[in-house]
Subunit: 402 residues, 2 copies
DNA sequence: GTTTGTTTGTATAAGCGTTAAACAAAATAA
DNA sequence: TTATTTTGTTTAACGCTTATACAAACAAAC
């Protein structure tokens, strides 16, 4: 019999099993063996340990209809608690989940200050609250995942710069390690949102995809071969600052014509306002209470949906620019799926066909063979869910640093 | 003692040792253990097998100056023979090397026909010659690596399309497998050239770099984490067709303003000819025997080096375009090194500083921290050497398919 | 009702490849 | 001379896997 003293069961096999459980539970040992390619004996041994550790759940239920009734396995919801945090440009979002990533508690608040100490201490307050709730539910905290709107050194756990927050060189992992005595994982918000879609959203089980989202900037997370692509030293994947028009507008990064300047709510508003000067539109002006400065992306989308041609054209133009840039990315990364998130979700009915057409007529043929274009399923949740996923990732498989 | 019946010595450790031997030979068992992180015992066992197999060479020589004199190890030059093949748009290049990639025989001939059967049978003739020489030298053939100027499915070993050759759907691996009864590895020429620089050229030991070369098209090979990056399904890395100017020229791929249209000998010639219409230059005209249609890239480079401002400006413009595109790639892939090959090597003195300046002032700061720009060391040899490297790669470590 | 076949889970021995530890050899330095 | 360092080998022990055998529980066929 398996004695239980073989503590160092191969980490990779253990991860294989945990990950298969995440995807296929409830499942029998035999099926688990089939999926992972291990023998039933090996699976049995590892599962024994996982049950002892309280990570895996065992239940005798109806499974296959022929043969001995299988003992079904799954990850234990009460295997532990995970905290996901997103620090946005003007909000903080904190999420507490159990071991199977079910939401136990969440909060999303607007922030007024942009001061580093203010925002961090406010976030700490919410994390404390989350940990308190975890304790009440008798769930051991497993770790904290944090998404930040800027350039992050994932290995060192530092925020390098966050232009929109005006932060620089913040060793957030160190700070929160000391504060909470838990593993802390820090990453860029777009990367985490990509992971969120990969684990819990539309990109489930798609091993090669690109997540794009635009609110203020244009962010992207690239998943290749089931792992986040970060380039050579972890600073890669900055797709928002690909130059797409040498005669374009000035970007915040100092360059001209970055993709970020062409795509997003801002360029849409700019285009509508410009067009308005030659084609006056009273209804649109009324919607802004008479002042075009009050124009928002929501209003433009609403008008476009109702057939307003100025708004429709502005959105179409951005859709073409988005599609053109995606075509380049498709040529380079050859993904199976493009997931579009952020502000664009509101306009998905208008955007979808234009984007798709642009991509398929501009990317090279073999790369587009199995390509699909979808919109985010988890929207504002994607990033915090991704933050949770990163923590689970470290337990379920090796850390997703390429 | 090690009994020798442990046939299935861990493949990964075996590869570790072979690869370390490639890089650091001649080296002692103890140093090998230090580098690979294995124990001296393990190294000893595996090396015993490698010597039995005839892959590794053992020699008692002066090494460390204190302690027992080490037995130095290295890959046996006579461990086997490898054939590297490059089929270019207008040439065929075949290289025969021994197990340590030293050239034994090589040939490079211009082709006149573009017919598929003609070129393939011509290449077969040279490969036969190479294999005959290998046999004469009593070296067992290990495999054939082939570089092609087009889109390749590496796993299936098919050429999908080669626009400049007008080839389509050629199952070259199958064809040559049946013809030569040897392992055949097929890949894009730029990918192989990148591998060639990685194993035997300027990018030795640089695990994250991008190789760019322009002759007719603009090709690129991307190495990330020590392996070729091919995107999700092997069709990725097509960086020549990134759109860099929506108002640019029409590209052969059907799109407008691809990077390929901005960078390379062709755009330089176009620019010089255009400039010539407004600024007549008798010396330049004389160099073309009175007809500007005879203008070649070589002539432009010569004139630029001698201070001719028309030629100089044309090259500078291309250098800026090249640098701008590289800046985008740097933002996305975050490499340590850019290697520039192909026609540009002739003009490296003029190009280098302009390219460097453009990249460093346009890419995001953290990505450029350790970035270097270099020119190819192996030039026309890079691709065939890379083809050899692919074959060795399969023996030294797992196949470099990401 | 019996037989046969299938699926499942467990137990055991055997195998592979590793590490740890001890040892010996050969050189230098004190 | 003695102590120290580096190197290479040998041995037992260990960890994890596979192969194999076995039994339980069910369905379908006869």
């Amino acid at each position: 019999m398996f004695t239980g003293d073989q503590e160092k069961v191969r980490i990779v096999n253990r991860s294989l099993i945990l990950n298969a459980l995440r995807l296929y539970a409830p499942i029998s040992r035999a099926q688990l063996a089939y999926i992972t390619g291990l023998t039933r004996g090996t699976v049995s041994n590892i599962v024994t340990i996982l049950i002892e550790e309280g990570l895996v759940f065992e239940d005798e239920l109806q499974g296959s209809k022929i043969g001995r009734p299988p003992i079904l396995l799954g990850l234990r919801p009460d295997g532990g608690a995970v905290v996901g945090v997103e620090i946005g440009v003007d909000f903080i979002s904190v999420l507490l989940t159990n071991f199977v990533a079910q939401t136990l508690w969440e909060i999303r608040v607007k922030t007024t200050s942009q001061s580093q100490t203010d925002i961090i201490s406010q976030a700490e307050k919410y994390i404390d609250q989350a940990l308190k709730i975890a304790k009440e539910k008798k769930l051991g905290p497993l770790g904290i995942g944090v998404g930040l709107p800027g350039l992050v050194n994932v290995r060192q756990g530092n925020l390098i710069t966050a232009p929109n927050l005006h932060w620089k060189d913040v060793p957030l992992r160190l700070i929160w390690n000391q504060r909470f005595h838990l593993p802390v994982y820090i990453d860029n918000e777009a990367n985490l949102a990509a992971l969120g879609e990969y684990y819990f959203g539309i990109a489930r089980n798609v091993d090669n995809f690109i997540y794009l989202s635009s609110d203020i900037g244009l962010g992207g997370g690239i998943v290749i071969g089931g792992r986040l692509f970060r380039g050579g030293h972890g600073y890669g994947g900055e797709i928002g600052h690909i130059q797409r028009d040498p005669q374009g507008e000035l970007c915040g990064c100092g360059r001209v014509g970055c993709w970020e300047t062409q795509v997003g709510p801002r360029p849409v508003l700019r285009r509508v306002k410009k067009e308005f000067q030659t084609h006056h539109d009273q209804m649109l002006l009324d919607a802004c209470s008479g002042n075009l400065d009050n124009l928002t992306f929501d209003i433009v989308v609403q008008f476009a949906l109702n057939g307003n041609s100025i708004c429709r054209q502005a959105i179409d133009e951005v859709a073409v620019n988005l599609g053109m840039g995606i075509a380049d990315l498709v040529n380079v990364f050859n993904p199976d799926l493009i997931v579009i998130g952020g502000a664009f979700i509101q306009a998905k009915e208008i955007l979808h066909s234009t984007i798709e057409k642009t991509i398929f007529s501009n990317a090279l043929q073999p790369s587009t063979e199995n390509l699909k274009i979808e919109f985010s399923e988890r929207d504002t949740e994607a990033c915090v869910l991704g933050a949770v996923a990163v923590v689970l990732d470290d337990i379920l498989r090796e850390m997703a640093i390429s």
